[in-house]
Symmetry: C2
Subunit: 143 residues, 2 copies
């Protein structure tokens, strides 16, 4: 696990995502002040892939420099405003999501159990073929 | 500009990205200890979209719970290890990228200049019609 590389790649993903959000913000602003340019930027952004923020900005600066400069300013502003909250939001988000997913899975596993107990009550033979027993080790023994 | 919503959406994007990195990490580990399961997880991850980390994890937990739990643990570990560095990496990354893009654009704009200076050397009249002069305000006056 190359933590340094993962951290770099994650930062790059966030930068591209903030570029996308900056483009959305500028399109929203322009749609009120200058609808034709808003439309142009929207069409440009469907043509050029915003997923790679760097390549997208290079193309945009070549086509409409002033619009490109404006998006650079907006994405820097976005980064300054939200970055300090990111670590806590991500860590809390993952903890909550993990807890929910684990609980859901636990509920699913315990919902199978009553069936298997019922099955044992009615047919006490063939214990190993019980659906409950068959499915539980399957999930537990996985690597 | 709804900063709160943008911050939430960015955190969600980071969580999905860390889920993807956790899946990659577990595939790499399994390819050494348990190649068949590594292959299965790889194929599962091309079938199910990792882009939505939450939906992906729900499907995985239903199919192979133990593998799902392992990925939950890895993504939580990744978040704890890299999150504290993210704000600085993203902010510095955007500042550097913005500076580079602005410099590149400035270079492109000034690369037109030398031609125009050459033109001025040979023909010193029509100063205002020089391509350098003509193109500079054009890019600056854009909306």
């Amino acid at each position: 696990m190359d933590l340094k590389q993962i951290a770099k790649d994650t930062a790059k993903t966030v930068i591209s995502y903030l570029t996308y959000q900056a483009v959305r913000t500028v399109i929203a602003q322009l749609s009120e002040t200058d609808p034709p340019t808003a439309l142009w930027l929207q069409q440009f952004s469907t043509r050029e892939r915003v997923q790679d923020g760097e390549a997208y900005m290079q193309s945009l600066l070549q086509e409409k420099a002033a619009l490109g400069f404006r998006i650079l300013t907006v994405r820097e502003h976005l980064a300054n405003e939200i970055c300090e909250f990111l670590p806590e939001m991500v860590q809390t988000g993952i903890q909550e999501s993990n807890l929910n997913l684990r609980c859901q899975q636990l509920e699913r596993m315990t919902q199978v159990m009553p069936d298997s107990t019922d099955a044992t009550d009615t047919a006490d033979t063939n214990r190993d073929d019980r659906p409950g027993n068959a499915s539980a080790p399957e999930t537990e023994s996985e690597p």
